[in-house]
C-alpha cells in the first residue's frame, strides 16, 4: 500500500468527500427527518448524484486518481448540473416567491443542487490542475486517518439516506413521488407508490406543440363532420378578390370601418394597407422577422384606430403606423422592404394563461372594450378553445375564457367539443366575436358579454380560410389565395 504522506492531494480529496457528505447530503437528511421536508423523485436523483460523486472520491482515496474515476466524476458533475437545471426549470419562471417546498437559506434545494454540482466540477478541475504524474500510480493505497473518517462518515450518512428512502419511497419496485408527504416513523403514514411510472414519455413533454401553417391549415373542411350538429347554412353571396399584387399567401385580412381600407398580411411577413377596392397598395412593408423577438409567420391583423396591429402565430405582436414622416434610417432595422411611409411603434409578446402553450391564427379588435382579442388553436397536447383579451392601454391580458355553448346549440356526441374548431379569422362587431374555423368551415358567433357561443353557421365552399373582416352587414372570409367570400350573417 502507498502511505498517505507521499500523496498531498489525498487529504484534500478526503476533506472534499467529508464536506460533500456532511453538508448537502447530511443537511438533506436533516431536512427530511427533522424538518419533515421529504425529497421528490427528482430531488432523490440529485442527492444520489452527490453521494455517487463522494463515492468516486472514496475510490480515488483507495486506488489513486485513475482515469476512469476522473471520467466518472466529471460525468456525474455534468449530469448533476443538467438534472438540477431541468428540475429548476419547472419552477424558476413562476411568480415571485413561488417555489417547490420551503427555501433553504434563500434558495430551494434544486437550486442548491445546481450550485453544488457546478462547484464539484470546478473542484475536479482544480484537483486535476494540481495532479502530478507520480501520484497516478496503480495499486491499493492506505486512505489515512482523514480518509478512514470520510469512509465511515459516508457509510453513516448514506445509511441514514437509505432508511429515509425506505420510509418515504418504499422498497423496490416503488419509486419516489412528485409530491412526497413528510417523513414519519409511523408505517401507517408511509406512502409507497408507482405513480411516476405512469404517463406519456416524450422528449419535449407538454412543449411538443406543432406549429400551424397559417396559410395552409390541414383540417377537415366539411361542416357536416363538425362537433356541432344541425347548423344552418350561410351561402356565399358573392366572391371578390384582392387584385393588388401581394407577395405570398394571405394569412389574415382586416377592414377599417372608418376609412374602408383593408389590412392584409402574408406568409412572407408582408404587411399591406390596401384601398377599399382591394386593388391598390397604399402602404407596404416586409418585416425583418429575425430582428429582436422571434416572429413566427404572421397570422393576425387588425386596425386599432390609425395603428396597425399584427400578430404572429406565437403571439408575438407588432404595432405599426402609416407615417409620411417615417425615418428611413431608423426603420431600416425593422423592415426588409418598405414603401417608406410606415413606422414601427412596438414589437413584443402577448402572455396568456389558459392559452399558454397554444398557437393562434387570428386577431380581432373590440373597439367598445378597447381590447385586442386572440383565439387559440388546439393541438394534440392542448385541446382547448380559449378567447384571450388584451387591454389596448398596456397590452397585458385583461381576461380570458373558454366559451360555453348556448342551449340552442348541440354537440354531435360525447367526446365532441368546441376545441375541435381551428379559428383562422376573427372580427369583433357590437359586442360579438365572429370567429371562422378552417376546420369544418364553420362560423362561430361568441357573445363577449355572456362568454357563450350563441350561434354557429356552416359556410360550405371555402378553401383555406385565413382571415375574417366585417363590412357593413356582411362578413368577408379571406382565403389564402386572395379570393374573398362575402356572406351575410343574421343580426350583424
Amino acid at each position: 500500500m502507498t502511505p498517505p504522506s507521499r500523496d498531498p492531494l489525498r487529504p484534500v480529496v478526503a476533506w472534499a468527500v467529508i464536506a460533500l457528505i456532511a453538508v448537502p447530503v447530511g443537511a438533506a437528511v436533516w431536512l427530511g427527518v427533522v424538518q419533515g421536508e421529504s425529497p421528490c423523485i427528482l430531488c432523490w436523483a440529485q442527492r444520489a448524484s452527490m453521494v455517487l460523486i463522494a463515492l468516486v472520491g472514496l475510490f480515488v482515496l483507495r486506488y489513486g486518481p485513475r482515469p476512469r474515476y476522473l471520467g466518472m466524476a466529471v460525468l456525474l458533475g455534468t449530469w448533476g448540473v443538467f438534472m438540477s437545471l431541468r428540475h429548476s426549470a419547472l419552477h424558476l419562471a413562476r411568480d415571485v416567491g413561488q417555489g417547490f417546498a420551503a427555501p433553504f437559506f434563500g434558495a430551494h434545494t434544486y437550486v442548491w443542487a445546481w450550485l453544488i454540482h457546478w462547484v464539484v466540477l470546478g473542484v475536479i478541475g482544480v484537483l486535476l490542475l494540481l495532479l502530478r504524474a507520480e501520484q497516478t500510480g496503480a495499486g491499493i493505497r492506505e486512505p489515512g486517518r482523514v480518509g478512514r473518517f470520510a469512509m465511515a462518515l459516508f457509510l453513516v450518512v448514506v445509511g441514514a439516506n437509505a432508511l429515509q428512502a425506505f420510509a418515504t419511497t418504499g422498497p423496490p419496485p416503488f419509486v419516489g413521488q412528485a409530491d412526497p408527504v413528510r417523513f414519519s416513523l409511523n408505517p401507517r403514514h408511509w406512502v409507497w407508490m408507482n405513480e411516476e411510472l405512469r404517463g406519456r414519455i416524450s422528449l419535449r413533454g407538454s412543449w411538443a406543440i406543432p406549429q400551424p401553417d397559417p396559410a395552409a391549415v390541414d383540417t377537415d373542411p366539411s361542416p357536416a363532420n363538425g362537433p356541432l350538429v344541425d347548423l344552418p347554412t350561410l351561402p356565399v353571396q358573392s366572391w371578390e378578390r384582392v387584385s393588388a399584387s401581394l407577395d405570398g399567401q394571405i394569412t389574415d385580412l382586416a377592414r377599417d370601418a372608418v376609412t374602408g381600407r383593408f389590412l392584409a398580411v402574408t406568409d412572407r411577413f408582408g404587411v399591406y394597407v390596401l384601398d377599399s377596392a382591394l386593388s391598390r397598395i397604399e402602404q407596404r412593408v416586409v418585416l425583418d422577422h429575425q430582428y429582436s423577438i422571434d416572429l413566427t409567420p404572421l397570422a393576425g391583423a387588425a386596425f386599432v384606430g390609425d395603428t396597425l396591429a399584427l400578430l404572429a402565430t406565437n403571439k408575438s405582436y407588432l404595432l405599426l403606423r402609416p407615417d409620411p414622416a417615417a425615418d428611413a434610417d431608423r426603420e431600416w432595422r425593422h423592415f426588409r422592404e418598405t414603401s417608406g411611409d410606415v413606422t414601427e411603434l412596438r414589437r413584443s409578446r402577448f402572455a396568456t394563461v389558459r392559452a399558454r402553450q397554444m398557437f393562434v391564427l387570428s386577431l380581432a379588435y373590440d373597439r367598445q372594450a378597447d381590447e385586442l382579442i386572440t383565439v387559440s388553436v388546439p393541438s394534440p397536447r392542448q385541446r382547448r378553445l380559449v378567447v384571450s383579451r388584451f387591454a389596448r392601454a398596456d397590452l397585458v391580458l385583461a381576461s380570458e375564457f373558454m366559451p360555453r355553448l348556448a342551449t340552442n346549440l348541440v354537440l354531435g356526441g360525447r367526446g365532441r367539443s368546441l376545441a375541435e374548431y381551428v379559428v383562422t379569422g376573427a372580427v369583433a362587431v357590437d359586442g360579438k366575436l365572429y370567429a371562422f374555423s378552417a376546420a369544418y368551415s364553420t362560423l362561430l358567433v361568441i357573445d363577449l358579454q355572456s362568454r357563450a357561443v350563441t350561434a354557429a353557421y356552416a359556410v360550405p365552399g371555402i378553401e383555406h380560410p385565413a382571415g375574417l373582416a366585417a363590412r357593413e352587414s356582411t362578413l368577408l372570409v379571406a382565403q389564402a389565395d386572395g379570393r374573398i367570400a362575402v356572406v351575410e350573417v343574421p343580426g350583424i
Partner: protein, 55 residues
C-alpha cells in the same frame, strides 16, 4: 428504488474500505448505481429531457 440505490452505494463503499481487492466489483456497483440514478430521474421527468421552456 431509491432505497435499493442507496444500498448499492453502501455496498460499493464497504468494498472500497474493507475489501479493496474487489475493486472491479465495487466499480461495477458504482456504474450500476449511476445508471439506476439516471433512470429514476428520467422516470421522474417522464422522459422529457428538455425542460419545459422555449429552446
Amino acid at each position: 428504488m431509491e432505497f435499493l440505490n442507496f444500498l448499492i452505494m453502501l455496498c460499493a463503499a464497504w468494498l472500497v474500505w474493507r475489501r479493496p481487492e474487489k475493486e472491479r466489483l465495487a466499480f461495477g456497483l458504482l456504474v450500476a448505481s449511476c445508471v439506476l440514478m439516471a433512470l429514476l430521474f428520467l422516470i421522474g421527468t417522464h422522459g422529457s429531457l428538455v425542460p419545459g421552456v422555449n429552446l
